[in-house]
Each structure stands twice: as structure tokens, then as C-alpha cells.
Subunit: 759 residues, 2 copies
């Protein structure tokens, strides 16, 4: 990885490092109530404090100001600071820009806010009851660009969005089935915990805003900030230095509006850095309740599935409707099910806003459907592998969305998962095999596995440019964000490979919306696939230009020219050649620029969920073995084996690291992670002592990572695929070990013990 | 001007403002001797000082290091730090990077250097004598790229370069002439005095160098640094924030090698900022001695001119050979002279290196030839305007280089200069008009004028790109450097105009060699002309793309489409249109990129100076009136009227400001500025108390600025044209006032009094 050394030694450039002359430091005053009217704000004492440059409150967003505070990716339901009311504990009410953090903190304490408390609602099911307090009233305006993705709904409800998938006749299917099983699964809110917190620096300069910000979506930040500030896109510049992890948390407007309006008001640059505590109240993974009802024949053939999923999107929807849609469309799993009916809802509550987190709704879905698959297998006394194999999607099968799938490799992935834990027919617990490592020991071992099918965002667009320098070296211009995932390394490899130049002669840019081409976002495992495709096309364009100039300069026909080793050579000669650099210099432009864009098309019908859900489908499997201490309830993951179908692997080591990262993330979500609220919506564990992520001790001793390529030419992303199935695989292994079926994540020792004692 | 407010209020981003984590501060140890062998350097005490990260000396450039310290635009005659010897007082011997400036300064004092002094040579004529000490021995290697511009010379001499121009038969011309006058003129070394000193920040990062540096030549810095560091161009990134003035001083490698090698050695970022004192020993305008011999008929017709010019390029040649060439090729002035012989030399001495300064050799040339024109007029008892008019170059005349000139406007420029001071036939002093404003007063008034013809660098290449955003706003990608001259404003205007979008929807980049297209340099009054041309071509490319997409989207033929107001409309309709942004979005690329490059061709024969010297010729005239106090010798410039042929003026206010800036610079060089050395090569006036630049009091009360356009379509640069003639115009006016002819600049009160007392 190109920047491994700088990253590991902490020398890499983060937005946190930006220091500008006269820069102010911003701090945010947050609501202590989950739901309250803001009666009055008095910031005068704060404004008088020495060192305070400005205080931003709703008073800056009066009609007279000309600025609306409202923003949001899908619904304009969020505001820069609270206008009429606050909607969760942590909701920004005001912000201060001051000479340093301490003064800014002190100023926050001087702002007097009178609140009138309202009843609040936290549970996603409660929130949909008729008498539930309304989080948003009137219903927030939906961004027109999402009208063909998210169905318009009436107001007067906390229902934010409703994704529908209708395939076959689910009632007929249940009627036809020998058995119908209905189970309920829950996933809690969890944190992304990037080591780098959210950071934004904003500067206004001759009527132009420059943002250095830790975002995965520079162009989306640019367009939303341009809208908020009534500026043309050319007057909003978003520069992204490398991120210290994103995992979806840095995928929407976060600190940018606050920093920009503070900078505008103070007429000085402003930096805001979130504390870890604030990270917890900024964005999280959706808590979800998924009711899954599956009809099955005696032999295990799946015939119908109905799913009702509620994604708790918290106080502000962010990308919640798309998460609910993406999770919803995946609920049939990698299985042939003729009759499917899915209703997936995003629901507003008075909790921390939920957004994208590695997997985008699919982790919640897989937790439900792969847990249930093992439960069905037991009920039918089938080996869970055989039950899966019987129903696996194979080439040319139709998916629940009605699209025909190809290039499927679930059989092999399932084999790999099974082999990785030496699964044998006797391993199913319901086959009465015992699992104690030693009959006198308190530990029991069990094996489990799970599969996943996951979309990549479709439609999608990426553009790239290749600048060929006078010496034939290449600058890749891209707006893909390096989050530590290795984007720059992989794009450099793709460019070097396509142009036939050594890797060390290629340099990949960071995003700068003034200068680098458009990219939709760095998320959804799409960079290698989509931006890689754009780089490949840019290389084709550049090669065309090189050949066109070379035909003239070398007086040869295009067919007689060969591009290799940074040169264009006349075929069959060794002395009739020009280096790329020489061609560029003689082209009268000094640089040659190649451009490429890569776009995909697709979409699902709003009423039926039928259409093209994904231009290709990510496929993965996890096998695992756990050890459960029946005296303490503690679970230890002994072995974890993620396998993925990766298309063509560009960088095997980075691919492995992504699989490993997914697996470790999954272990955290399986065993440890949960944001715990009290009954007044106050988050209780907003630090990394009370909220645990996996330590080195939690990482399985044995991890075997495997990526199938099958001679594929197409690049797939592999940044998320293997997280979603980890929790179900571990849950299934725990059941296999001790017969305890946990339906609500995480699989804590307390839950294990409680159920063991019930036994 | 787009950034006027930020510039005036001091909020603009300079490289000086860059702060990076872990950044070190560099200071330079300089030679106290003009010419000496470096016997021994002991930096151990400095290295041990707490807070010192590293000391860079010649020990870092041993053969084993793999790095050569040698660099230079034309000759590799400069070195990062002194290797064998030092060549002027101020020559860098070592550099320190430390935690702060004070520690770095202290460390410098701890470095022990033993020198063995050599005889030194300072005068450009002395330096060419056979027994003169050799500044460089052996002769430094010439960069191959200059081989067709600068003639190769043998070693063993301080002669750096020799430009020859041969036209007609100059001896025959002198023979034919009624009179032959030979005069000698001198110009001293002067400073650029940009308010912003030289600043460089260097950072190494995954084997890639990033420089934030105050340079006018980002691409030349990139290529030279890549060569020094053995890196591909893609691994050297040069970012230029705005400059606080350049005037040619920031046109070659300055601090970049020192900062980069310190950063490489310390493995931390390093910033170096020059003090004003150090600015004085970094680069200056060439001292020049010009002997000019002109043959003329009784009626004033010029028939022959021979010039021998010596440009003192100091210890290192920088761009001296090109300055000598450019000044040399201009020595015939805007006059028809059938027989011309010019020899223009750049000479190495033990003085501060001389390089480019606003006008590039032409100020020295004009000082000589326009002073002599007035002297000839008096000798012939002709009105100096009539003498000039008799000989002016007019359309289709041949220049001394043999090229046919067109679009000449010297007659009108001469009229403007004369009219601006209400010149009448009686104004010539030799016509015995008296000039005392009041016979009892000690002040005498006089009028003077001077003309100039000046090349723009040819051949030349600039490239630009226009990024059309999703909302139809434009980002202009250019590597032109904003020095305060208004480059960004003018390029924005050109782009807005070409694309038919409002100016506020256009944003112009700063240079970033990773991302912005190639540009040769920001100098030679070429940005509006050359980069403006590239932007215009990029707009043409972009419009072609817009039309091509629009024909499909609007189902109309290209001929029926009209581009206006940010839209493509079907001719004759008001509702069949698409905004540029909509076309970009529907083009499947989200952005459209237009590219353009603008290049010119030309060149002069090495033996004869015949060929194409300039793709067009800058033309200007100055009229002025001065008042001289015959008791104090003090000169006051009462009126100064620069007129230029500007081609099409893009921004009249900026054009005026450039003329005004030239005039004020010229007043400084005429009256005040001179770097004064003692007889051991020690510069005596290295601060702005002892070295005076014009204050508001020195600026003429009446300045009338005029730019001729004549319906021209072509853009000319006007950044330098009017500086070169100011000194001669003032010198001529002083003579006109008090009959004192000063041949060596500046026109100090002491020189006036000394000659007046001789009278």
C-alpha cells in the first residue's frame, strides 16, 4: 500500500492537521433533551466573552438572512442549528467560534437556552403508532432527485420511507408450504468508530468557500453546501485529505454547514473537530427490527418469504430511506424464493440519526435471514449447509428483484466456508453431537456459517482523468477518497497496468472538487469497480491520443504501433519508437490528458421493487468456530474464514486486509457493540471504555481469508461484503455450541447465561 | 479584481501561511567571502544543539549519496550548498532545519567553516580580461534544452554566453553615415522587492515531494526538482498559492532544493522564509554596461548601429544568458536601421546572481538607446520627436532580426507621449528655451520621452482546462500564477466571455502541478496572451462537446443550436433548450472537460540573430516632465504618461494598474535604486532603509495611463512594456531641464550636482 508507512507512523496528512492564519475553533452546544421546543436562546454572554468571535444560532437563519438552515441528502429534515425544536439528545442548538477550544467550551456554558420538553419516542415500532409524538411535523421536504428512488408518503406520521418488493404471491406460497416459520430479529445501534473523528475546516475567500473536510463524498458535500449558501458549484471547493477511516460515517453533510456558517459570520477560517463523545451522537448504524416469515417444504425448499423490517433512522433521516431499501431488497438472501413480499421502513424517532455503515442495511438483513436459515434447518432436522445448498441462487436464476443473475459462485463459497471449519454432517447440533472440548471443561465449541448477497450502488457514476507528464509519468486525477482502504494504491495499479508504465511513475490525487473529476461517492464497495473502470477508460482515451500523435510522428499506421514500457514502438523495430513523454512534448500541449467515465444504469420500481437492483452482486460466505464458556457466558471466536467472490483481484494483500477488516468489524458487532440509551434517550456509553470495539484479544486466532477470482476480468469491490454475515455465522456457531439462540445483537455473555439458566 | 479585498486586507493565502504538523524551520549559512575555497566544514556542534533536526552540507552530496547538488536553468552552475568553493558574499554554504527560527539561527553560528580566500572579480569588463580569476572552472555544463538558444562556448573564461545579431554591413553603414556617435551607458544591480519574500515549504510523503513555494514557474520547478531528486515528474508536486509580487525574482529554483533536501534528510516538513536581507543576496537585475555606436545621416536617418553589451550575471547564471539575448535583440529599438551588429554577453562575476526582472534585459537596452537618441538629436540640432519619427518602424518594416513587423503603432504612441507633456517644437533644450518655472526659483523643469519595443517569450506553450460543473458553473484549471497582477481575474473574464456564463460562476485555480495543466511560466507579459489563448481554446473544445451532446439531446442539427446565457437553445425557439449543467449531467460524465493549448513558434539563428524573435512585439511610449532643484540636485517627476499598444484589453482597470506599476517601478530604477557593493563584494544596502524604493511621495502627481486597442482581437501582455522606457524618459527630461546627461543609473542628486558644478 502506497501510503502504509506514513499511515502507520502517523505522519499522514489529515484534515485535523490543517492550520490557517487567523483560524478559529468551533464548538457545538447540544440539546440535553430528546424532544423539546426551543423557547428562547440568549447567547449575549457568550458573545461578550473575550476570544469569542461569533455565536451561531437560529437567529442567523431568519427569513431576512436569506439563508435556510435546512439540509439533508434525501429529506431536508436536518438544520444547521435547531430552529423550532430539538429532536435528540445531542442535537446541535448553537455553535461558537473562538480563539481556542477552551474559550469556545466556556462560551457554550454561557449560552442560555430555555426548552419546553415534549414527549419523545425511541422505538421504531412505537414510533409508528397513531398516538406517537411526531418527530417531524410537517413532513420534511423530499429532495426531488430521490423521487424515483423513494416513494412519496403522506405526513402526520413518523414513517420516513417505505420500500416495497413484490414477487409472486406470498400468501399462495405460504399456503403451499409445508411449514411457515416466523421469527423476529433485532440489531442495535452501533458506532463506526473511525480512529479519525469528523473534522472540517471552512474558509471563505473572495466569495468562495473552501472546505477541508473528512468526507467520503466530496462532490455531494459540494453540491449541498452550494445549495445552502446559494453559491454556484464553482465557488465551493471541497478538498479531502486522507481519512482515518470512514465506514460510511463520513458520507453526508456533518460539520460542513456549521463550520461554513461560522466562517461566513466570523469572516475567518473555522475548524471543528468532534470529540469521541460527540461522534457517538452524530451518526450510527440503524437499529433494526426485522420480522421474517418463511414458508418451506419438508425437504427444505424455500417457497415464500415475507419480511417486515423497521429501520430506526433516528431524529434525522440522512440516507436512512436508502439503507432501508438496500437492506430490504437483500432480505431474500442468496436463495431462490418464488414468492417474496418485503416491506422495509425507515422510521423517525428521537434517537441519534442513523446512516450508512459498512454494509448499508445488509448486516441487519443477513443477521435475520441467516439466523433463521439455521433455525429452519433445525426445525426440519436438516444440515444447515444442505438446506442452503438446496436453495442457492445459481447462474441465470432470477433474484427477488426479477433480475437474472450471472457469475454466481455461492456453491463454491459455501464449500469454502464449510471446509474452513471442517464441517461434517455430524456437526449440526440437532444431530446430537456433543461439543465440549473436554467433558470436564466449562467450554463448549460450535461451528456456524452464513452467506451474503449484497448490491453495489446502482446507478452509479465515476469520472477520472490521466495526466501524462513530459517524462511519461502519470498523475491520476480522481475524487475517490483514500480512507485507509488502499484506494490510491489500487487506482495507481490499474493506471500503471493499463498504460504499461511502472507503478512508481504513477501518482494518484486526493479529491479536490475544483480540479478532480466528478465522483458520486467513496462507499458501497464501489471504488475499485467504478473508479477503476473510469481510470481504465481514461487510459484508453490517453492511449488513443498517444497512438494518434505517434502515427504522425513515427510515420506509421496505428495498426503497426505497439504501446509498451512507456513507449510507442513501430512493430517489428527496436529503434523506431517514442517515449510517452516525447510524444506529449511534441503534441504541442506538453501534457496529454485522458478522460474516462464509468456509469451504470438500473433501478427498482417503486411499487414492486422489480428491476435492476445492482449491476453486479457481491457474494460472500463466512465459516466460523466459537468456544463458549458456560460458566461465564463468554464467547471466544476461534476461527473465522471469510470468502468472497472478488472478480479480478487488483491487489491481493489489500483484498485480504479488507476481508480481515470486515471480519473484525463483524466480531465487534456480533459480541460487543451496542449503543445503550436510557429511557429518556440519553446515550450511556459514549466512550471507548464503556463502548467496546474488538481489541487484539478479540480477534480470532485463526483467520483464513480467501478471494475467488475465476479468471474474471471485471473488478468487484470487497470493502463490505464480508461484514454482514459475520454476526449470523457467530450466532449460529454459538447455538451450535450451547443451544442458545440469541435473536437480538450483540451476543453478550449476559444473554447467553440468562438463556442457559433458563434451560 | 477577484481577490482585491483579501489581498488588501492581508487575508490572502500565501505560502508563508502554510503550517504542517512536525514542521521544521530552515535557515541558511552564507559565505562571508566573495570567492573562496571551502576548506573544511564542521557542523557537529550545530547538530548537537537541542531542537536541531538536521544540518545540510556538502557532505550530503558525496558520490555515495547518489545525489548531485548541481542545478541551474541554463547552466548547472549553482549548487544546493557550496561544494568546492563559494562565489559571492551570501552564497549558501550550509542549511539547518530546527524546531524554530531562533534555534536554527543559533545552530548556524555553531557551524565552523574554514575558507581559503581567492581573488575575486566584480566588474563585467574586468571579468573578461585574461588574468581575471575564474568564477567557474571548469565551465559548467549547459542544459541540452538550451542548445539551440545559447551558443556553446569554450571554457577558461568568465564569458557565460554570447548573443550575436548580424544584419547588413555595419562597417559599410558607419562609412556611409554623416556622423557616428559612440556612447556608454550603465545600469546597476537593482532589487525586485516583492513585498512577500521567497518562501518554500517542502514535505516528503510516500516517496513523493510536495512543495508549496512562491514561484512563478511551477512546472519548471517541478522538472528541475525531479531531476535533482531522481524522481518521476508525477512524484514532485508543486503547489503555488498566490504570490505577493514576483517581478521575475521568483522565476528559477530558489529555496526549493534546500528545503527539499532538508526535508528529505530530516524526514519532516521544512519551511524556509528569506529575510529581506537575504532577498538582496538571492537574485537581482543584471548590472549592464552597454556601448552603443550609431551612424546617422545629417537629416537624422539612422543607418548603422553597433552594440556591445555586457550583462553581469553574478556568480550563477540563472537565466542571465537569456536576459542578455533578449536585451541584445532589442538594442536597435523601434527604429529602422539597415546595418546592425550586436554582441551581447552574459558574464560571470563574484556578485549576487542576476536573473529576470520585469523587462528582461530590455530596461538596460532602452536606457542606452533612448538616452542616445536624445543625445543624437541634440548633436544634430533636431527635435528628439522628429528624430524618432523619421526612423520609426512601421507596418511591414523589417526588424533587426529580419522578421517583418505588423500591427505597429509607434507613431500614435509617440504622439501620445508628446501630447501628454504638451511637447512643442521649442521644448528641446538645444533650442535654447529656458526651463525655470520662475527665474528666482532654484527649480528647473524639463520634458522627456522614450519608446520601447519588447519581445514576448517565443516559442511558448500554455495549456488550460475548463471543468463544467453539474450546475453549469466553470472551474478554470490553469498553472498561471497569481502574483497580484490579476491573472485569475483576467482568465475568469476570458472564460466567462467565451462560454457565455456570468463571471461569478467562474472560478480560476491556483497552480498545482499534480492537477492543473502545463504552463511554461508566469512571466514575460505572457499570461493574458498565452494562457488567455489556451482558455479560449479550451472553451472552444467545451462548446464543441456541449453542441455535440445537445444535438442528440435536443434532436437538432448543430447549425440550429445557439450557445448563450449558459444554455444551448434551438434557434428560433424559447423552450427547446438545455442548460450547460443539464447537458453535463446527461452526458454520463457529470462534468465535461474542455482542453486547450496555445503555443507559438519562433527562434533566432545562433550566428546571426536572424529569425522570429517574438510572436508579436510589445510597443510602448513614455512622456514625462520633471522638476530639478539645482541647489539640491533633487529630481521630482511631475508628470508621467505611459502609453501602450495593448491589443484587446480584457480588464481596463487592471491594464491601468499594470501601466502604473511599471511607471512606479521605473521611477525607482531611474532615481533611487542601486545595490551598492564595497570593494570586497559585500553588499552595503541590504535593507529598505538604505535601499530605497519609491514611496507615495515619489510617485508623480500626474499619471495618465493609456492603452491603444485599435479594435484588435489578439490579446497582448502589458505587465512589463512600460517599465523599460521610464528611466530614459526621465533621464532625457532631466537633461532637458538642467543640461546634465547622466549615463549611469540611477539619476541621483549627487550625480546631478556634481555635473552641474562642473558646468
Amino acid at each position: 500500500m502506497i501510503d502504509a508507512h506514513e499511515r502507520v507512523t502517523g505522519r499522514i496528512n489529515y484534515a485535523l492537521n490543517i492550520e490557517l492564519p487567523g483560524m478559529l475553533y468551533g464548538k457545538i452546544l447540544r440539546s440535553p433533551f430528546p424532544h423539546a421546543r426551543v423557547v428562547h436562546i440568549d447567547s449575549s454572554a457568550a458573545e461578550r466573552l473575550t476570544g469569542v468571535a461569533t455565536v451561531l444560532t437560529r437567529g442567523d437563519f431568519t427569513q431576512a438572512s436569506g439563508y435556510s438552515a435546512k439540509y439533508g441528502r434525501i429529506f431536508r429534515d436536518q438544520s444547521v442549528v435547531a430552529l423550532d425544536k430539538v429532536r435528540f439528545v445531542g442535537d446541535p442548538v448553537a455553535a461558537v467560534a473562538a480563539a481556542n477550544d477552551d474559550i469556545a467550551e466556556e462560551a457554550l456554558s454561557l449560552i442560555k437556552v430555555d426548552y419546553e420538553e415534549f414527549p419523545a419516542v425511541f422505538d421504531e415500532a412505537e414510533a409508528l403508532k397513531g398516538d406517537a409524538p411526531l418527530v417531524h411535523d410537517p413532513r420534511p421536504e423530499q429532495q426531488a432527485i430521490f423521487n424515483n428512488l423513494i416513494q412519496a408518503l403522506p405526513g402526520g406520521s413518523n414513517l420516513c420511507s417505505h420500500f416495497k418488493l413484490r414477487r409472486g404471491d406470498v400468501e399462495a406460497g405460504f399456503h403451499q408450504a409445508d411449514f411457515v416459520y416466523e421469527d423476529l430479529f433485532r440489531s442495535p445501534a452501533v458506532q463506526h468508530v473511525p480512529l479519525e473523528p469528523h473534522v472540517t475546516v471552512a474558509q471563505f475567500f473572495h466569495g468562495k468557500l473552501t472546505l477541508w473536510t473528512s468526507t467520503q463524498m466530496p462532490h455531494a458535500v459540494r453540491s449541498q453546501m452550494a445549495e445552502l449558501l446559494h453559491l454556484p458549484l464553482a465557488r465551493v471547493r471541497v478538498i479531502v485529505e486522507t481519512l482515518g477511516g470512514g465506514f460510511g460515517s463520513k458520507g453526508s453533510l456533518r460539520l460542513e454547514p456549521l463550520a461554513a456558517f461560522l466562517a461566513l459570520k466570523a469572516n475567518r477560517p473555522v475548524k471543528i473537530v468532534l470529540t469521541r463523545e460527540e461522534e457517538f451522537v452524530t451518526v450510527c448504524k440503524h437499529p433494526a427490527t426485522i420480522r421474517i416469515k418463511t414458508g418451506v417444504m419438508k425437504d427444505g425448499t424455500l417457497v415464500a418469504r415475507q419480511v417486515t423490517a423497521h429501520f430506526n433512522t433516528g431524529a434525522y433521516s440522512d440516507v436512512g430511506p436508502v439503507v432501508a431499501r438496500n437492506g430490504g431488497s437483500a432480505m431474500s438472501g442468496p436463495y431462490k424464493i418464488p414468492h417474496v413480499r418485503i416491506d422495509s421502513f425507515a422510521v423517525w424517532t428521537n434517537l441519534v440519526p442513523a446512516g450508512a455503515l459498512r454494509g448499508f442495511g445488509v448486516p441487519q438483513a443477513v443477521w435475520a435471514y441467516e439466523s433463521q436459515m439455521d433455525m429452519i434447518a433445525e426445525r426440519l432436522r436438516l444440515d444447515p449447509i444442505e438446506l442452503r445448498r438446496k436453495n442457492l441462487l445459481r447462474d441465470d436464476d432470477l433474484f427477488a428483484t426479477g433480475e437474472t443473475l450471472t457469475d454466481l459462485h455461492f456453491d463454491e463459497l459455501l464449500d469454502r466456508a464449510a471446509d474452513s471449519v471442517q464441517w461434517t454432517a455430524g456437526d449440526a447440533r440437532w444431530n446430537q453431537s456433543a461439543h465440549a472440548t473436554d467433558k470436564n471443561s466449562a467450554t463448549r465449541r460450535g461451528k456456524g456459517l452464513a452467506l451474503v448477497i449484497k448490491a453495489t450502488i446502482t446507478p452509479s457514476i465515476s469520472a477520472a482523468a490521466l495526466k501524462l507528464n513530459e517524462d511519461g509519468s502519470l498523475n491520476v486525477l480522481t475524487s475517490s477518497v483514500e480512507c485507509g482502504q488502499g484506494a490510491k494504491t489500487v487506482l495507481a495499479q490499474i493506471a500503471a497496468d493499463a498504460m504499461q508504465v511502472p507503478l512508481e511513475r504513477v501518482s494518484v490525487s486526493d479529491p479536490d472538487t475544483d480540479l478532480t473529476p466528478y465522483d458520486q461517492q467513496t462507499s458501497s464497495s464501489r471504488t475499485t469497480f467504478s473508479m477503476g473502470g473510469a481510470v481504465t477508460k481514461a487510459a484508453e482515451d490517453l492511449k488513443r491520443q498517444l497512438l494518434s500523435h505517434a502515427t504522425e510522428l513515427l510515420e506509421a499506421s496505428v495498426d503497426d504501433l505497439v504501446l509498451a514500457n512507456g513507449r510507442v514502438t513501430v512493430r517489428g523495430t527496436s529503434d523506431r519508437f517514442l517515449s510517452y513523454g516525447a510524444i506529449a512534448m511534441r503534441s504541442n500541449q506538453a501534457n496529454l490528458m485522458g478522460h474516462g467515465s464509468f456509469s451504470t444504469r438500473g433501478g427498482l420500481d417503486l411499487e414492486t421493487g422489480q428491476g435492476i437492483g445492482s449491476v453486479h452482486w457481491h457474494q460472500g460466505a463466512i465459516g466460523c468456530e466459537v468456544e463458549v464458556d458456560i460458566e461465564t457466558g463468554k464467547i471466544k471466536v476461534l476461527r473465522l474464514s471469510p470468502s468472497v467472490f472478488a472478480g479480478r483481484v487488483v491487489n491481493p494483500r489489500l483484498c485480504e486486509l479488507q476481508l480481515e477488516g470486515c471480519a473484525i468489524f463483524g466480531v465487534g458487532q456480533a459480541l460487543l457493540e451496542e449503543m445503550i440509551y436510557d429511557d429518556r434517550g440519553q446515550l450511556l456509553n459514549t466512550n471507548l471504555s464503556d463502548y467496546n470495539i474488538p481489541s487484539f484479544d478479540d480477534i480470532p486466532e485463526q483467520m483464513s481469508l480467501s478471494a475467488l477470482e475465476h479468471g474474471a476480468e471485471e473488478l468487484h469491490g470487497i470493502g463490505e461484503t464480508l461484514l454482514p454475515p459475520v454476526m449470523a455465522a457467530i450466532g449460529n456457531a454459538v447455538y451450535n455450541a450451547v443451544g442458545v439462540r440469541i435473536r437480538d445483537l450483540p451476543l453478550t455473555a449476559e444473554k447467553i447465561l440468562r438463556q442457559l439458566h433458563k434451560l
